[in-house]
Amino acid sequence: MPIDFARADQGDTTNLRIAGTLDVLTAPGLASTIEQIVEERRPKVVVDLSGLDLIDSSGVAALVALYKRVRAVGGQVQVTGARDQPLAIFKLLRMDKVFLL
């Protein structure tokens, strides 16, 4: 599974599910979705990574970009469900605290 992501809005909350692999090859595919979420100034974004199997530094950068940009326009971001290799990478980069994992 290359990458597989889905956005679903429910009231103030945008749920973004990212599954498969998020890396230098696939992260660019998320860019326009991130752009839209930021433009629409969504108040709450919940990123569900329970289906994410692998991430690399480019994938982390994409999530950080999402996090920073949503917050810059007054929104909140919560990242949930990371496991296995992605969780190990977040811990190594000390992002588990920021992402509230």
């Binding site: 890396d23 230098v24 692998l54 690399d56 530094s57 950068a61 950080v64 296995d84 990478i89």
Partner: protein
């Protein structure tokens, strides 16, 4: 030349990355002593912490070599030499690309939530050895021992 060494030569591009990453991942299974070759169709296991570390680190170094070192070259090729023993794994990767000085790359300021510059940091944190010899060809030597030394370091204590 050790006859147990696994060698690969392949085009150096992101498109060909999986060839190298899969080979390294499969070599990790040999390190763990798992019978290899019998799970082609099944979910690919990068759960074991050893494999997670080696595969994550190698992928970062490969990305950098393909994107930074070999960018613009015509038909660049990388060469891999993998030694997988019960003690651990060593991967040597040579590329024909631009040389650079890894010492010039600082550790990222993680508190600032960086959006880049994390690749080398990940590799170094995940492995026991991340060495670089500028070329051409440039040589990366990546290595991880299977069992971390359990002896605590000897600390000289002095009474003040």
């Amino acid at each position: 030349m050790d006859p147990r060494t696994i060698r690969m030569t392949a085009p150096c591009s992101l498109r060909h990355r999986a060839l190298a990453v899969r080979l390294v991942a499969e070599a990790c299974r040999l390190v763990r002593g798992e019978r290899s070759g019998d799970d082609l169709a099944a979910g690919y296991d990068v759960r074991d912490p050893f494999d997670v570390a080696v595969v994550s680190a190698f992928a970062e170094i490969y990305n950098n070599v393909a994107l930074h070192a070999c960018a613009g070259l015509v038909d660049p090729q990388i060469e891999l030499a993998i030694a997988a023993t019960p003690d651990g794994i060593t991967v040597e990767m040579t590329d024909p690309g631009r040389r650079f000085d890894p010492e010039s790359v600082r550790s990222p300021d993680l508190d600032a939530l960086p959006e880049g510059g994390m690749g080398l940091h990940i590799a170094r944190a995940m492995l026991d050895v991340v060495d670089y010899e500028p070329g051409p060809p440039n040589l990366w030597r990546l290595s991880k021992r299977r069992v971390a030394a359990v002896d605590p370091p000897v600390v000289a204590t002095r009474t003040a």
